[in-house]
Symmetry: C2
Subunit: 138 residues, 2 copies
DNA sequence: TTCTCATCTGAACGTTTGCGCAGATGAAAG
DNA sequence: CTTTCATCTGCGCAAACGTTCAGATGAGAA
């Protein structure tokens, strides 16, 4: 069945591939496009250091107002507000308004899990820490 | 101790804050800058749909060559190669070369965990799916 | 040797993104 | 009413990003 020898096969559209069987299997197991996009969205949101710091602060602090988040993260209140708007739009955080202030908290248990998994690695193990990695000779 | 009343306090540098005690606690619990940056790096890497698809494909397929990854993900081989270079530089994937081809696989158990947590949410639950969210009226 | 072919890479282009700025909003205080 | 103050937001720009294109690399085949 498999054509692992020398000749590559083509699918209907002319895409070159080597192990057509595995390609089909993997493609079948692949989550649908919207799920991938949604997950990428959240991960991308957490992929910015400013926003990640905010979210981690909320993981620790429970419910924190904008100015305190600015103080913790070391960014301007404007930058924090912009960041929170994005996080809010994607349902990563929720806001509660009281008096003149806005208190933010994590809205999603799933994000909490992602953060736990993420932090458990980087904080106690020696991560590789690649600066601006170049060619990576193996 | 806490000054939750009306007046905001200032720290030494003139940063406005409301609950100075909590700010100090959260700041103390915050992972150090490099750890945050490293985690943000990985999350940001996974935050691109193209790269996420590649990594998910490797999660399913184990070891897949460049052209098959291109076939699975539906991108050009060049785009895939660029993406793989980034993932390689950050030790997310590893490469094994055989014959004329390059076989890629996941290099990091931690990334596998992140993916599992991420996918377990988006694939069986109804995620909110925000398109280009605007003001988000609560 | 030369030819073939899978993969890699630099440059360039168009798009997106993060943040500062300045003003807006809106609610509470005076 | 007006003033104060925490937060929000449109604009603008510089930096970062993802992709394509065209060519380079380098190992195997002939």
């Amino acid at each position: 069945m498999k054509r692992l020898s020398g000749v590559a096969s083509m699918d209907a559209c002319g895409v070159r591939m080597v192990d057509a069987e595995k390609v089909a299997a993997v493609r079948a197991a692949m989550p649908d496009d919207r799920d991938v996009a949604d997950l990428a969205d959240v991960l991308g949101l957490l992929g910015d250091p400013t926003r990640l710091r905010l979210v981690v602060a909320l993981l620790e602090g429970g419910e924190v107002c904008v100015c305190d988040l600015a103080a913790v993260s070391g960014h301007s209140e404007s930058a924090v507000s912009h960041a929170l708007r994005l996080l809010r739009a994607h349902r990563v955080v929720e806001v509660r308004r009281a008096h003149r202030m806005a208190y933010y908290r994590l809205a999603d248990a799933h994000v909490r899990m992602l953060l736990d998994v993420g932090l458990s690695h980087t904080s106690h193990a020696g991560v590789v820490h690649v600066e601006h990695a170049k060619t990576d000779r193996t």
